[in-house]
């Protein structure tokens, strides 16, 4: 019952696609479930039923415009993907329908090689033209902003199709991390597609047989899927993705035997479920965790003093939040985004919980007893609760804080959000540098007044440098500056917490569950 109406996983999830890695035959990352390891034979069959937070009638096959978790999970089951971000892979990405991406030495041109033998459900083969059309679709067909980075970084108008399997993309300016951008979330479909329908040709692991917005979708295995030839899944004969908005209802569907898998059940329900022997709780591993963050708006006078910003960072008891709000299912943050990604500066020491120093910093800045309103919402699991605890932490160092928890769905609906002095937010798992450029550079509203040309320059340098050592050094320097002087407090990272029947194995978490390798025992 619980947060029936709070549970708006809505955009949380939508934006989470930025980094949603696409399945590939040989995985090296993602959580390996106990069940997966226990089961030796990959033979399976059967129909897998999985429950996800949906969006009611708003759900659509047009994943370019359908921003619920389910819309993307469904699209990913149907459509092939260019690849997936994979920090463990040599290129930082695993390739899907692509064989490889070659970068010119001057970082100004990317050559995409399409995998041979990728077939659509209508029997036709995937070509470079289809890939180019798919990359362009967010602009030509219209899409939500988070799908547009490829078109923002590459000059698609000047792209060349060399042959059926080769596509050359010039960059708008030299970048080194173009593979990440291309593979972040691009799904491929046929050249000339204008409408997304149940009958359209697709080249993903499953073939859609039934779609009911707000209720779910049914699939059968796509027998021509290129992954099968590479020795991978899918192993199940059928897949049902059910839309269940309420987290408790998803858990109920799982415990009641109506589903084999319940996505995103939240920390509390996971504890309840863990007590039940028939079910397992699985969480995604780093870097697939959502950061919970708090923006200190520099338009608000006290926050212009770096001591106040530092005091706000020292005041938060990160361990306590992980322990009590997330029941241990979480990662302590270090006020930097993108924990777990290769470009993340893990050499920067963990900031301690030091209310004493925070208090004295505040006093030095003449800001003790300052009045502030912390605006938050319940857009993702744990956000409201984390805000609650953070507010208490701040009270403890002498900040007169008022918590304003917006009703569900209201946090970002308001144009005034970016004018708030102190507001909660979250970020899906995203590589740090491109994320910084799109959201933190001077003038971006979500920067909350953060305007540091020196850091902007460092980030640009890190993205554009040909030498890896040089790139790393610039990236770490930029992050250290943000760590010391930035206006973002990131106390924790929350993984996706899912429940599943013990009969189910092979589910991978990246950050959403993918079932292309799943088996029912």
């Amino acid at each position: 019952m619980s947060h029936s109406i709070h549970r708006r996983d809505f955009l949380a999830v939508a934006a989470g696609l930025l980094a949603a890695p696409v399945l590939s035959a040989c995985s090296s990352s993602g959580g390996q479930s106990a069940a997966q390891q226990a089961s030796a034979s990959p033979k399976s069959g059967g129909t897998l039923r999985a429950a996800f937070p949906g969006g009611g009638a708003a759900e659509t096959l047009d994943f370019l415009n359908g921003p619920t978790a389910l819309d993307y999970v469904r699209a990913r089951a149907m459509h092939g993907a260019l690849g997936a971000i994979d920090p463990g892979a040599p290129d930082g990405v695993r390739y899907g329908v692509l064989e490889r991406i070659d970068i010119s030495d001057d970082l100004s041109s990317y050559t995409l090689k399409v995998r041979r033998g990728v077939k659509f459900t209508d029997g036709s083969a995937l070509t470079a033209r289809d890939v180019l059309y798919s990359l362009n679709a967010p602009v030509t067909l219209g899409s939500l902003p988070f799908l547009k980075p490829p078109s923002q970084n590459f000059d698609l108008a000047k792209a060349r199709v060399e042959d059926d399997l080769t596509l050359v993309l010039p960059t708008k300016r030299p970048i080194a991390d173009g593979r990440l951008i291309l593979c972040q979330s691009t799904l491929v479909f046929k050249d000339g597609t204008t409408a997304f329908t149940a009958g359209m040709p697709t080249c993903g692991p499953f073939k859609l047989t039934e779609f009911q917005p707000g209720q779910g979708a049914a699939f059968v295995r796509h027998d021509e899927y290129y992954g099968l030839a590479l020795g991978g899944g899918p192993y199940v004969d059928g897949l049902e993705l059910r839309s269940i908005a309420d987290a408790t209802a998803r858990v109920n569907a799982l415990t009641g035997g109506q589903a084999d898998f319940a996505a995103d059940i939240g920390p509390v329900a996971s504890r309840t479920l863990a007590a039940n022997g028939r079910f397992a709780v699985e969480t995604s591993e780093l870097p697939y965790a959502t950061s919970l963050s708090f923006g200190l708006n520099l338009a608000h006078a006290p926050f212009r003093d770096v001591r106040v910003r530092r005091a706000f960072k020292l005041a938060v008891d990160r361990e306590a939040i992980v322990k009590t709000v997330l029941f241990g299912h979480g990662f302590v943050g270090n006020d930097l985004p993108s924990l777990g990604f290769p470009d993340y500066a893990k050499e920067i020491e963990q900031r301690p919980y030091d209310p004493g120093q925070a208090r004295s910093l505040l006093r030095d800045a003449g800001a003790d007893g300052m009045k502030i309103t912390l605006t938050t919402g319940s857009e993702v699991a744990g956000l409201a609760e984390t805000s609650t605890l953070y507010a208490e932490n701040l009270k403890a160092i002498g900040v007169d804080v008022t918590l304003d928890q917006r009703p569900p769905g209201r946090l970002f609906a308001d144009e005034g959000y970016f004018k708030l002095p102190f507001a909660a937010s979250f970020s899906p798992p995203t590589p740090p540098l491109s994320q910084y450029e799109s959201t933190r550079t001077a003038g971006a509203p979500s920067a909350f007044g953060f305007d540091r040309p020196d850091i902007d320059e460092l980030v640009a340098k890190a993205r554009g440098a040909r030498d890896a050592g040089e790139r790393r050094e610039a990236a770490v320097r930029a992050q250290r500056l943000m760590w010391e002087e930035g206006n973002q407090v990131i106390p924790v990272f929350v993984p996706s917490i899912n429940g599943q029947a013990k009969t189910l194995g092979g589910v991978r978490y990246e950050p959403f569950a993918s079932f292309s390798e799943a088996r029912l025992v």
């Binding site: 987290a247 509390v268 329900a269 306590a320 009590t324 208490e392 008022t402 918590l403 928890q405 009703p407």
Partner: protein, 264 residues
């Protein structure tokens, strides 16, 4: 006063007392984290801790005020507006009155929860939205009862005589109409109050209204339902208080109606 009424008044009184004086009975903060989440009751935390690890007893003691104040406030608001509108439309000419009542009835057609959803999300966040929404939902009932009572009294002999004698509208209102419609209006107000408690609690449950850390029995029930299987107290304690409050107010309204000779 019947035994039932006495019992109901006692229960309602205790609940109101808890709501008003509760904050004085504990020195624990209702918002501070007091331990791990969802701890079972212990001497330290007689009702355990909630999903965020806050002391449930402290939250229960602090959380009644919102429910009691909001439901009573909405009832008073709707009652006052209903009295004014009901008397005016009751005394107005037939056509004007009908028209005014139709206009108010428009509100009654819309399911209460829809009004709540629209208003509570539309207004600047906060309890004011809930207050206004609950009052608005109550208004049509209030107007109808007052209007019917007013019409009945306005048609009675003593009003005719006062009018024939030349008493002014105000004098008639004050001496003849208002004192004689108080019974049904009072009985109706009791029923409205219980309905308001119901709606206010539902608003809390749905997370509408003022910010989350502020304890509110309805919201506590919503927040903690998910942990019901681990420890039921964070859910049950506010739920029980809500139910006892609503039942006793309903019972009181019933008894009041009976005592005043008004059928519900």
């Amino acid at each position: 006063m019947t035994r039932r009424a006495l019992f109901a008044a006692l229960c309602a009184g205790v609940i109101v007392l808890i709501a008003l004086a509760g904050p004085l009975l504990t020195d624990r903060s209702p918002t501070a984290q007091a331990g791990n989440a969802l701890l079972a009751p212990s001497p330290e935390h007689p009702l355990g801790t909630d999903v965020v690890g806050r002391d449930v007893l402290a939250r229960v003691l602090h959380g009644g005020l919102a429910v009691v104040a909001l439901s009573a406030g909405a009832t008073v608001l709707a009652g006052a507006a209903g009295l004014a509108l009901g008397v005016l439309t009751g005394l107005a000419g037939r056509r004007t009155g009908e028209l005014a009542v139709r206009a108010v009835d428009v509100l009654g057609v819309v399911p209460p929860l829809l009004v709540m959803l629209l208003l509570a999300t539309g207004f600047p966040a906060g309890d004011l939205a809930v207050l206004v929404a609950v009052a608005l939902v109550s208004l049509p009932f209030s107007v109808r009862v007052v209007r019917a009572a007013t019409q009945q009294v306005a048609g009675s002999g003593f009003v005719d005589i006062a009018r024939a004698r030349g008493d002014g509208q105000w004098r008639i209102l004050r001496h003849d109409i208002v004192p004689n419609i108080l019974r049904p209006v009072l009985a109706e107000t009791g029923l409205r109050l219980s309905a308001s408690i119901h709606l206010t609690a539902t608003a809390g449950f749905l997370g509408l209204g003022a910010g989350a850390p502020a304890p509110n029995w309805g919201r506590m029930v919503g927040e903690n339902a998910v942990g019901f299987a681990l420890t039921p107290w964070p859910f049950l304690a506010p739920a029980l208080l809500l139910v006892v409050f609503a039942v006793s107010v309903n019972l009181l309204a019933d008894e009041l109606g009976r005592a005043l000779g008004v059928r519900s």
